[in-house]
Point group: C2
Chain length 226, copies 2
């Protein structure tokens, strides 16, 4: 019975996600669903990415959190439109939440919609939002054993960003074994290494260039998800 | 309809948790439900705690993960009985999973049952397992904004362990603001600071002494949850 309920919810979500995707495609909008554990550094990565990418794309952001508007306030300071979704205890965003709030943006004038999901390495992976790209942010402070222990998140991702690389020398994390573990689960995944800390920025140009390329390929009709 | 289903599941869980609690009380067993984000350092904390506490208590461990028996293998190397639960994608342990596996331990000969939940700062907090104490492990690498953004986990906890304190000098995390944020949500919470890294152990004696004290108070009938 539990499983039936879950499947019902997922079917409903997938139907709305397909509508979202059709809307985004009609507006030529590229969309990224950003997932990862609490404290993986998703919001800071967004702040740095926006700075890096704002000459190439008009950006809008959706922030997902159980509570508070803290992340939206940080993103608003980057001078891009942002909408905060509070899930009120819920462990992930779903397609319907996105459908409700995207009306608040001028989608025709937006190139790139960045959606930061609730910090959770489990539940968000099951819920398609209608995005073009799924990006998983993993802090290397989390240890090299995470891919095997949380396989669904890695199976669902197109891109993994190994973040907080500035801390590498102070950790015991074996990043080679981490990367091998990721590729063993999903050998098509694209892996980037970043540090988002002020004064120790790393990997931002590569990641931004990859996103700008993916946006262009979509506009040329060369990639299509869903 | 979503809410009804959730409430049904929670009522069912609470009924089984009450049975677990009655069983644990009848065996004079003290039980801790250990929660936290992926990579907060829960398993390493358990390894250190077992070493610290094994002269004062006979310990058994339940490990919860989506997949793999990696954590159970690490705990087995500490020479205590351990059972791994794989949730097969599920985002938290529930009382029924615990009821099924505790039969595998000699409970009458056990003083302390440590249950490491799935790494997730959201879902485990809603599911009572029948435990005496709820311990939340938060790595200071996760940043000072987590309590406000994940309030349910902090509201449900009796103890918060601020872990990975050995990294404090390399982070921008404001631990004073972090502690203030925790106490604003739950002013009854007990806070410990630890580092579990080999050669940089910190706070283990205090945490172990607190647990041993809590065990003794329970045996004397002075604390009772549920």
């Amino acid at each position: 019975m539990k499983i039936d309920v879950k499947q019902d919810l997922l079917s409903l979500n997938n139907a709305v996600a397909a509508e979202n995707r059709a809307l985004f495609n009609s507006k030529n909008l590229f969309t990224i669903n950003i997932m990862g554990s609490p404290g993986a550094g998703k919001t800071t990565l967004l702040e740095r990415l926006i700075t890096q990418i704002c000459n190439d794309a008009v950006v809008a952001v959706i922030e997902g959190d159980l509570a508070t508007a803290r992340d939206a306030q940080r993103i608003a300071a980057c001078d891009v439109p942002v909408i905060q979704i509070n899930t009120d205890g819920g462990c992930h965003l779903d397609a319907e939440m996105i459908a409700k709030v995207v009306k608040g943006f001028d989608l025709a004038q937006t190139d790139l919609l960045l959606i930061e999901n609730v910090g959770n390495l489990v539940c968000p992976a099951a819920f398609d939002l209608g995005e073009d790209l799924r990006m998983l942010v993993l802090s290397i402070t989390e240890g090299e054993d995470k891919p095997g222990k949380y396989p669904t998140a890695f199976m669902a991702a197109d891109v993994v960003v190994l973040n907080k690389m500035d801390l590498k020398d102070y950790l015991d994390t074996d990043t080679e074994s981490l990367i091998a573990d990721i590729l063993a689960i999903n050998h098509n995944i694209k892996i980037f290494s970043t540090s988002c800390r002020v004064g120790k920025l790393e990997g931002m140009e590569d990641l931004a260039a990859y996103i700008v390329d993916a946006m262009r390929l979509k506009k040329q009709g060369k990639i299509k998800r869903g």
